[in-house]
Symmetry: C2
Subunit: 302 residues, 2 copies
């Protein structure tokens, strides 16, 4: 909960997409009650003039910036919310502008690459606290965000060894204040866990929607009409931001390929069970997966 002093004086949010604008909204919602806000000044930065104009119209922050340098100047927290492929450029652009003691954090879906791409740019005395709020929808852009996106979800922080504990605690306090539970994890373990719970599901969804739309014997019109049988959930996931996801796969290559290899192996076993009519094997798997769903429901993550 905010005390008399705000948690941060100035937060620079770089990238006003689904996550950046949701964070801005959540912080704005924290400003509403009487008393000191969680954050005194939210500086929003996006290279698109249209996006900046829309963010201003929506009242998402206190200042709006086209260049990263002016946004981060004087910030005690910089939150990078762009596709992970753009992190090296952002790192280079902010390097000379950071105040001593500032914290640089992010919301990227891959964590080892973020540390690799941002870390070398940061001067001594600036703290890198990489993070990943595991929440989202298939929609993109500043209008897609909403203040409650993070509520009841988990945020993973992956501070490199030797990171200042107070900096980690402040980033943790920010996410906690807007409804998240926080877990600290090794960056490599994060990339493995997310490869199976997020990256592989997206890759599969994109691929199957592509496979369906390439059929010669089944028209796209038929695919659309009869999507209620299960396909429509895959189309939702496969509508997620193309650039963001391209960057995820390119930057978590090893873990994604490992998971894809395992899935392919398991699919081959299913293929064989179907071909040879091994109904007991199919039923055993399908019964086991039901239990996982029940665990999700119990954990309120369904």
């Amino acid at each position: 909960m905010p005390s008399i002093e705000p948690l941060f004086e100035r937060v620079a949010i770089i990238g006003i997409g689904l996550i950046g604008s949701s964070l801005a909204r959540a912080l704005a919602a924290q400003r509403a009650p009487a008393g000191a806000p969680l954050v005194r000044h939210v500086a929003l930065c996006d290279r698109s003039e249209n996006v900046r104009a829309r963010a201003a119209e929506l009242g998402l922050g206190q200042s709006f910036h086209g260049d990263v340098a002016s946004a981060v100047r004087g910030a005690d927290l910089v939150m990078i919310c762009v596709p992970v492929g753009a992190f090296a450029d952002v790192g280079a652009a902010i390097a000379g502008q950071l105040s001593p003691g500032a914290i640089v954090s992010d919301v990227g879906s891959v964590k080892q690459s973020v540390i690799r791409d941002i870390g070398p740019h940061l001067p001594d005395g600036v703290h890198l606290v990489p993070g990943h709020p595991v929440a989202g929808t298939e929609h993109s852009g500043p209008d897609a965000g909403f203040a409650t996106l993070f509520q009841g979800r988990w945020c993973i922080l992956t501070p490199p060894p030797g990171t200042d504990g107070a900096a980690v605690a402040k980033v943790s306090a920010l996410w906690t204040a807007i409804g998240m539970s926080v877990e600290v994890m090794e960056p490599s373990h994060h990339d493995l866990v997310l490869a199976i719970t997020s990256h592989l599901p997206h890759l599969i969804a994109y691929t199957i929607v592509g496979t369906a739309s390439d059929m010669e014997d089944v028209t796209n019109r038929e695919v659309v009409k009869f999507a209620a049988g299960g396909f429509r959930d895959f189309t939702r996931i496969a509508a997620s931001d193309p650039v963001m996801w391209r960057d995820v796969f390119l930057n978590n290559k090893q873990a994604v390929l490992e998971m894809l290899g395992r899935l392919t192996e398991d699919l081959a076993a299913m293929q064989r069970a179907i071909r040879w009519g091994e109904g007991d094997k199919l039923e055993a798997l399908f019964t086991r997966t039901r239990a996982i769903r029940r665990s999700l429901i119990e954990a309120k993550q369904a």
Copy 2:
């Protein structure tokens, strides 16, 4: 719309699961307004005594039967709502009890196997009109059903060559009256279309949830906690009825294996693109799949 005469005097629903009980509820809802009902008598049949008792408690029909023969006696429509693997047995059990002119229909997710398993049992003068209302949820049993399940969705009818047109029209009128659009299709084409829009998505979802729960380096607790990144939609689909889905795969073997082969091929291409860092290929696919989602939204099937 029902005229003074009901569309059917007696409908026997065999199997009171998600679909059977939803159909019963939709028919009950049609009885509510003043005037002649769509169906005068709904006879519900399930081999489980608990399910029958629950269906009676819920007031889902006018009579409740443990044996198929007594349920179908005097019925002018028999609607089979059991897993497709049980159709041969149901066909044998109803064979001697059908009235001349009666229509036998079903809601099975595979159509060639239904014709193969039911057709030979039916006496001359009884009409086989196989059908598939493409609608559902991951929940099972009589309590999972709801009257609006079918609204705005498509029902596919696959009458074999030479089927009486009036019988097809009556089954079509039933589904239309409870909110569905009806399309007539070749049974083999149905099995191909559904293999890609429904069967393959379910197979993939079951498999990936199994793959995730088998990981040595990622605990099931972690999989559950961080499911919001995409995995949770797969767990929902993978919670669907195990026996129903076992039977679908065993009875639509050829089309499912064909689709799985195509998907595996496309996955291998994605795997290669990721390994070699071909971001343009990934982005091109991810952009193309977004368009399919838009088509679904426009067709109100999202």
